[in-house]
């Protein structure tokens, strides 16, 4: 593994992020939309770790650690919301969720 340009990792990160964004746009299953958001967070993490390695600084890895914490919290609350929506609407199709009333 001698000297891969950091550009390659950043490009891969951009591709993964775009796939995640596309998933949010074209899928209507709320769970798959959540997974796409996780994919986007993961792409950002990959770029951070790549820059951390290129600059020989650990700060990027610390950021990734915090992002993982935030992602875990977000998933717990988000899935709770999805379960709550499913209880009232009997569906997790985001097209069906067009009123805020419970």
């Amino acid at each position: 593994m001698e000297g891969i340009p950091v550009n390659y990792y950043v490009a891969l990160s951009a591709i993964l992020f775009t796939i995640g964004a596309l998933g949010v746009l074209i899928r209507r299953n709320a769970l798959v939309i959540f997974m796409s958001i996780e994919l986007m967070l993961n792409a950002a993490n990959l770029a951070l770790v790549a820059f951390s390695s290129a600059n020989n600084q650990l700060d990027g890895q610390i950021f990734v650690f915090f992002i993982m914490t935030v992602a875990a919290a977000e998933v717990a609350v988000g899935l709770a919301l999805i379960v709550a929506v499913f209880r009232t609407k009997k569906s997790i199709d985001v097209d069906q969720v067009n009123v805020l009333k419970g």
Binding site: M1, G3, I4, P5, V6, N7, Y8, Y9, V10, A11, L12, A14, I15, L16, T18, I19, G20, L22, G23, L25, I26, R28, N29, L31, V32, F34, M35, S36, L39, N42, N45, L46, V49, A50, S52, S53, A54, N55, N56, L58, Q61, I62, V64, F65, F66, M68, T69, A71, A72, A73, V75, A76, L79, A80, V83, A84, F86, S91, I92, D93
Partner: protein
Amino acid sequence: MTVFIILALVAIATALGMLLSRNAVYSALFLVLNFATVAVFYLLLGAPFIAITQVTVYAGAIMVLFLFVIMLLGTEELPESDKLPWQRPVAIGLAVVLMVEGIYLMVFQKAPGLINAAPTEDFGSPQAIGDMLFTDYLLPFEATSILLLVAMVGAIVLTVKKKKGEQN
């Protein structure tokens, strides 16, 4: 270099598999594979602690939570509702624009440097990460503990069933 290309192809293929599977369980399993691939990237980048955290927290905890919810709700596949007539091609076109822009801005403008091929032995080790967490990043670290507590309470509040006849 070969390792990078193969892993990158696996990562992109699993991400696309996640996007295109009709069944939400397959999507979740593709995403687990994607997270595992990214964990191998972290190992290549000299971040062993982050790699293990990725496997345990993301591929382990978060995705298991996803699978639990998918199977609890029994919504592996949504019934076909009316098609989105024009939104889908527009979304794909805009995504391509986003990708080209992102790659252009980050690759051709300012992303100099090479991946450190031979990191020192303690670079990215749990000890080095812990040192930074408890010195430079102590305040954010403590803030995340409160964040996790709030998320836990929030998840319970949102999912708890109301008793019959209870007000509100």
